[in-house]
Amino acid sequence: MTQPDPADDAVIRLFNVSKRFGAKLALSNITLDIRKGEWLYVTGPSGAGKSTLLKLFYLGEKTTSGQVLAFGTNMNRLTAKEVPFLRRRFGIIFQDFKLIPNRNVFENVALVLEARGEPQNMIDKRTRNILRHAGMDKRMEAMPTSLSGGEQQRVAVARAIAGQPDVILADEPTGSLDPKSAEIIIGLLAAYHEKGATVMVATHDRDLLARKKGRIIRLEEGRLVEPEPVNGGRL
């Protein structure tokens, strides 16, 4: 009986990827497979290249050399018109939430579906459902500035999953939150992960690694160092 090729269920594959900002080498020769449905932590100290790595997946940055394949598509060959459609397969969460300040909670989440041209009744229904799930249904009319950090991040998670993406990319999602809020955020992401989504969390918070099992990779000065066998995550 032949063993399945581990690349068969890879949603993202990196081959010898490097990223340079001027003289600084942010990522160096990274080769990595991210499999469908896995929970993956990218750890490492500040400036190790965690955020840059995540940005490569949604084309927030382009590689200097090497190749990134997302869902079988070579990212280097995507045209500008194809980029939005690729991004719809990712849900992105930032440490600073990145909510649109002049849109209320409902509108921030609904934007994802509006951008896809979904019918209004579907947008209304799904947005309400997701906000209820995120525990933000009572604050749908609130403006982002009137929310606490934890609430803003809950809205950001709701926005990330509203489009039912295949992959969630979370860059320090609990970095500016208290432990209780962090617990809620990880809970929301875990619930979405259970539905079969791939979740990739960049963090240098070791407490976070203990909250949810997952594969861990570690970056140091842009290099992928040996993965750490923490909390039973598969390697």
Binding site: Y58, R87, R88, I92, K98, I100, N102, L111, E114, A115
Partner: protein, 293 residues
């Protein structure tokens, strides 16, 4: 499109100050160009009314045979640029003269024989009422065998026509200049607005919004700003015109002012829309290039 329009209107209310500045900027530049257009249109209408009155008096030689008189009339009628030819006999001319100088009848006492010649009054078509053309027509008329003398006046018409042409040319040059100024200001205002919203645009891009989804409401906003700017400019221009017209008290008929024609107002409106759209197009093109680099 309904959804884009809704987003545009919502954006107008949430960024009222920035949109307001753009509308006022467009209105100011259109106001200047509109004022020039108003001057040129009124000048043209005055000149045109003057041109309608251009006449050439063709005096016939004394004792010309009636066949020659008739022949001259026929030649004048077939001449290019002639609208109407009326024969004025020497007796009619004298009667008219005496009537016009009523109260000074003593001047005509002892006149003896009527000194006035038979004449033709030639009305020139408005198209031919240019100084050079009238001059050429008069030169041709004086060559007719029965014609003694030709009289035509209004050489000042040529000077006014030339002056208006210069105003018109200056108007076109200034309109062009103001178009560039307006475009530059709109371009920078829209750019400023875009930069103030670059986070919002970046987020839209990250959630998978297409270029069209991001740009259409911005273009609609540009068009709306242009339309609002031109309407505002037309209102202000009309107010200034009404104030000026009432100040001049209507004046002589030849100088009666009128506001811009419907066609010109439509032109001003479309000009505003174009400035809004094109300014938006230029800044968006640059902004999106920077955003995607």
């Amino acid at each position: 499109m309904k959804r884009h329009m809704k987003r545009t209107l919502k954006d107008f209310t949430s960024h009222a100050f920035l949109h307001g500045i753009t509308v006022v900027t467009i209105a100011l530049t259109i106001l200047i160009a509109g004022a020039l257009l108003l001057v040129v249109e009124n000048g043209e209408s005055v000149i045109s009314s003057w041109k309608n009155g251009v006449r050439i008096m063709v005096y016939l030689k004394g004792g010309a045979a009636s066949a020659d008189v008739e022949g001259t009339g026929h030649s004048l009628e077939t001449m290019g640029g002639v609208a109407k030819v009326s024969f004025i006999s020497r007796d009619e001319a004298l009667t008219d003269l005496m009537e016009s100088m009523e109260g000074q009848a003593s001047l005509f006492e002892g006149l003896g024989e009527n000194p006035l010649p038979d004449a033709y009054e030639v009305e020139v078509t408005p198209e031919a009422a240019e100084w050079e053309r009238v001059q050429a027509m008069a030169a041709a008329m004086v060559k007719l065998p029965a014609v003694d003398e030709v009289e035509y006046g209004r050489s000042w018409l040529a000077r006014v026509s030339r002056l208006l042409k210069m105003v018109e040319l200056a108007g076109i040059a200034l309109a062009g200049l103001f178009f560039i100024v307006a475009l530059f200001i709109v371009y920078n205002t829209v750019r400023l607005a875009l930069y103030s919203r670059r986070d919002e645009i970046e987020i839209m891009q990250l959630v998978g919004a297409t270029g069209g989804f991001i740009k259409i409401p911005l273009y609609l906003a540009g068009v709306l700003e242009g339309a609002m700017g031109s309407i505002l400019a037309l209102f202000v221009l009309f107010g200034a015109y009404a104030l000026f017209a009432s100040g001049t008290g209507g004046g002589a008929d030849a100088f009666e002012l009128s506001f811009l024609s419907l066609g010109s107002m439509g032109g001003v409106f479309l000009y505003g829309i174009f400035v809004g759209w094109f300014g938006c197009f230029l800044s968006l093109r640059e902004f999106m290039k920077e955003a995607s680099s």
